[in-house]
């Protein structure tokens, strides 16, 4: 990441984010940017790295340090998570390592994280807007009586050093910027794939600050008695797929979904859909793309028979290349697609699949055609 620029201290007269309210003195000791490293069943959720990328930028703007927070059992996976936090450019890591942090449970994680905040006082705390992150962020913010901005799509610091957290509203037709006044830390969640994945750095392991967790298993009411893996772990990867093919109501019938799947398989991608297909029961809910589904950021996104409603658009705008197939030349999707094809998806998808098969066959590179 190279140079760390330090910003001049903000002019005091501006006040906080242009309001007249000043941060109470006891909050002025809150410094540095923290990212919660989400570790579940041995895996670090990639959203944590995306947040470290954002956190790095904010910390550099503020001229403060970036810390990762790792909560987990005494195990290799936890040590791996610590190493990964440094690899993604954290300056230090706060670590609580206890057997009762093996499975995620709200009670234990809330206590571990709030204790850390109270002891070391960060000014900004970022978490992934996953089921785990939202469950945790809500209780931590309430315990600390501070502000929490949900599902941010943009994070910045103002001249006076306050966090400007921007999130979509009314399904993405508008954006709003939210500040946390008079309270610390300023907390925000961000959905997976909304921010770019940063480069790994070759930074050596840094300082690890261990903290105790004054809690016994007997104090935790909730017990995990089982875990049913969704088995189709590739589903969980839709958000992280490099190539995604999705269908909408324009496909006309559930049978036509096979056309999507064929294309996805041909080009090694995953498939998804717009919300109405989930509501019709044509596809599983975890394949929905958009505001109330997954956010994707593939290199190639092919949308067939999708109108491009704003709630869908917000989930796909991070794609490098959007190809839209729609019979209606005025469909809103053509406003944000890169390549548009006014055609019947049902006849076009098989043709596209066929061409891909030929073009991608070994020894059949474009030069040879």
């Amino acid at each position: 990441m190279g140079t760390r620029k330090r910003q001049a201290p903000p002019p005091a007269a501006l006040g906080r984010a242009g309001t007249k309210k000043d941060l109470p003195d006891h909050f002025k000791s809150y410094r540095h940017v923290w990212v919660f490293i989400e570790l579940e069943r041995g895996q670090v959720h990639p959203v944590s790295f995306e947040l470290l990328g954002e956190g790095r930028r904010l910390a550099d703007q503020l001229g403060v340090q970036l810390a990762g927070v790792v909560l987990g059992p005494p195990a290799d996976s936890t040590r791996h998570a610590v190493a990964e936090a440094f690899a993604y450019d954290a300056d230090l890591v706060y670590l609580v390592e206890k057997p009762l942090l093996t499975d995620y449970r709200n009670e234990a994680f809330t206590k571990a994280l709030t204790d850390l905040v109270n002891a070391y006082k960060p000014e900004i705390l970022l978490l992934g807007a996953t089921t785990l992150g939202r469950d945790l962020a809500g209780s931590v913010a309430t315990t600390l009586l501070t502000g929490l901005t949900a599902d941010c799509t943009g994070l910045d610091v103002d001249a006076d050093g306050s966090l400007a957290a921007t999130r979509p509203t009314f399904g993405g037709s508008l954006l709003c910027t939210i500040y946390t006044l008079n309270c610390r830390p300023q907390m925000a969640t961000v959905r997976p794939r909304v921010m770019c994945m940063p480069q790994r750095s070759n930074k050596p392991t840094g300082r690890v600050i261990r903290h105790d967790l004054g809690m016994l298993e007997e104090e935790i009411v909730t017990k995990v008695v089982g875990f049913l893996s969704d088995g189709q772990s590739e589903n969980a990867n839709l958000a992280y797929a490099d190539v995604v093919v999705a269908g909408g109501l324009g496909l006309g019938a559930a049978d036509n979904l096979q056309l999507l799947k064929n294309l996805a398989q041909t080009i090694g991608g995953d498939y998804g859909c717009s919300r109405p297909l989930v509501q019709k029961g044509w596809m599983a809910a975890d394949r929905q793309i958009g505001q109330t589904g997954k956010t994707i950021r593939p290199k190639l996104y092919i949308a067939a028979g999708i109108s491009g409603a704003v709630q869908h658009r917000v989930g796909v705008e991070g794609a490098d290349l959007i190809v839209a197939i729609n019979t209606d030349p005025n469909a809103p999707i053509f406003d944000f697609a890169n390549i548009g094809i006014v055609a019947d998806a049902v006849s076009f998808l098989p043709a596209l699949t066929e061409v891909f098969i030929r073009r991608l066959a070994p020894g059949n590179s474009s030069e040879l055609r």
């Binding site: 913010a141 599902d151 709003c176 009411v221 055609a343 061409v355 070994p362």
Partner: protein, 283 residues
């Protein structure tokens, strides 16, 4: 068994339009509905009541017109409705909202029996934060069970509950204790049609209306704008993509030729893709 279900009245966002020039939300004439996710919570609460007996109280915080949402909930079969309404609540963020709702739930406990389960929806379709459920749980010191897909069993004598909860990559099976707060996931079950009796009762029933003071809220500075650490400072329209789509000419061409052109265009835009797809695809 006493169950409280929190429901929020929201604008039917499918019908919301943003004014193209002023970037303001055109609320006029937009109908309001019960937050769709809250109907799954209500249905689950009614199912639990079917099995274990007891009462379901629905609670909404909002302007006086939120009474409509509560009355609708009564037609589905809820026993009692409480509306928390006071101009002091205006401008509440999730911290202030969960404070007010938790105080009202405590007051419901005093007046009608302490709840064994508090339900909320997964999230709303307007504020859309999913933060109010956890906020209420923390403030009332209830066990917090979020993203619950299914209540597997409730043992009233042992005061235990087993649920399936969505987590990253699968489903956690959790065994916990009553009283608890459940944020209910949307499911396949649709809300029941209430009986004719319910409809008649809903029309007749008086809805309990509480001001902040009546809900037992002493410290008004924890409510509304004053009790909200977050403030919305700017509202603006997203910047449109500068370029419109490259339209592939599809007039009088064979679909196969169009496909050729599209694939060529994709590889021109993203030259690295050709290699990546070749190695990834199962051709």
């Amino acid at each position: 068994m006493h169950i409280v279900v929190c429901i929020k009245q929201v604008p039917d966002s499918a019908q919301i339009r943003v004014h193209p020039v002023t970037n303001t939300i055109m609320r006029q004439g937009v109908p309001t509905i019960i937050n769709p996710y809250d109907l799954f919570a209500l249905e689950e609460a009614l199912k639990v009541r079917d099995l274990h007996g007891g009462e379901v109280t629905v609670l909404a915080m909002g302007p006086p017109m939120a009474e409509e949402a509560l009355r609708k909930a009564l037609t589905y079969g809820a026993n009692r409705a409480v509306l928390l309404t006071d101009r002091h609540f205006a401008g509440s963020d999730t911290l202030a909202t969960s404070f007010a709702l938790s105080q009202a739930i405590a007051q419901i406990g005093n007046s009608f029996g302490v709840p064994d389960i508090v339900f909320t929806g997964k999230q709303t379709i307007d504020g859309d934060t999913a933060q109010v459920g956890p906020g209420i749980a923390k403030r009332l010191n209830l066990v917090q069970l979020t993203y619950v897909a299914k209540i597997t069993s409730i043992d009233l004598s042992a005061r235990s509950i087993t649920v399936e909860r969505l987590s990253e990559g699968g489903t956690q099976v959790l065994k916990s204790q009553l009283p608890c707060l459940i944020t209910m996931l949307e499911g396949k079950t649709v809300i029941r049609r209430g009986s004719l009796d319910d409809a008649l009762r809903a029309a007749r029933s008086a809805i309990v209306k509480w001001s902040a003071a009546e809900a037992g809220i002493g410290d008004i500075t924890k409510c509304g704008l004053r009790g909200s650490p977050t403030v919305v400072k700017r509202v603006f329209a997203p910047t449109p993509r500068e370029k419109k789509a490259v339209q592939i000419d599809t007039t009088e061409k064979r679909v196969h030729d169009i496909a050729e052109e599209v694939v060529a265009c994709i590889f021109t835009h993203q030259p690295t893709l050709q290699h990546e797809l070749t190695s990834a695809g199962s051709v």
